[in-house]
């Protein structure tokens, strides 16, 4: 499995963590971030969320992110998986896994990766509600 992927299919956090751990036995701390679709029924009713990507550029931007993280932080390995499909409440959307000798850099790199992914990777989400569809224009 590639360490950076955009895919329709769901992913397994365990399989990704295992793949990361297989890279080096020097890894002592692994920080992960898993983004899921929340129950949208609080504010306004949303039936599903659809993702669109700029195919090619999105995965390229994610690979560049991973490389930059490996340079900026004292980490050993990082994986980034993002689904581009239609998701419903509770579904998995994005996974970041970072392995380092020590936990400090693992946490820092993991938080930086998800923050920066939202700014640099050409993926868009559209909320589908009973009364129509709305593109989400700001990354929270």
């Amino acid at each position: 499995m590639h360490s950076v992927r955009i895919q329709q299919d769901d992913f397994s956090i365990e399989a990704e963590v295992d793949a990361l751990r297989a890279v080096s036995k020097r890894i002592g701390g692994i920080a992960t971030f898993l983004g899921c679709a929340r129950d949208f029924s609080e504010g306004h009713e949303v039936l599903s969320i659809e993702f669109e990507q700029y195919a090619g550029m999105a995965e390229k931007a994610m690979r560049a992110l991973r490389s930059e993280a490996l340079e900026r932080f004292d980490i050993i390995e990082a994986r980034i998986i993002h689904r581009v499909t239609t998701v419903h409440a509770g579904d998995q959307i994005v996974l970041i896994v970072v392995g380092a000798e020590h936990r400090g850099p693992a946490f820092e790199a993991c938080a930086w990766l998800i923050d920066t992914l939202k700014q640099r990777v050409p993926i868009w989400k559209k909320e589908v509600a009973p009364d129509g569809e709305t593109w989400v224009s700001l990354h929270p």
Binding site: M57, I93, K118, V121, W124, L138
Partner: protein, 76 residues
């Protein structure tokens, strides 16, 4: 000479199309491309040339380049 233009997300929806081919007689600036396809008033508008994000609108676009006009990203 022609340039391939891609539109994404709300930009594609507003224009009612997802791609077009822009014919040019000579290399032009990115600003010219944006205006030629009617996106000059789309703000904020993100632009990529050949899958690299570009902020300098004076960048010259050449025959065969791929230009993407995009709203703010909202992945993650």
């Amino acid at each position: 000479m022609s340039v391939k233009i891609l539109f994404f997300g709300s930009v594609a929806d507003r224009l009612g199309r997802r791609a077009c081919q822009l014919e040019i007689s000579e290399p032009v600036t990115l600003a010219h491309v944006v205006e030629a396809v009617g996106c000059q008033e789309f703000q904020p508008l993100l632009v990529a040339v050949n899958q690299e994000q570009i902020s300098d609108m004076n960048l010259i676009v050449n025959n065969g380049d791929e230009v993407a006009l995009m709203p703010l990203f909202s992945g993650g």
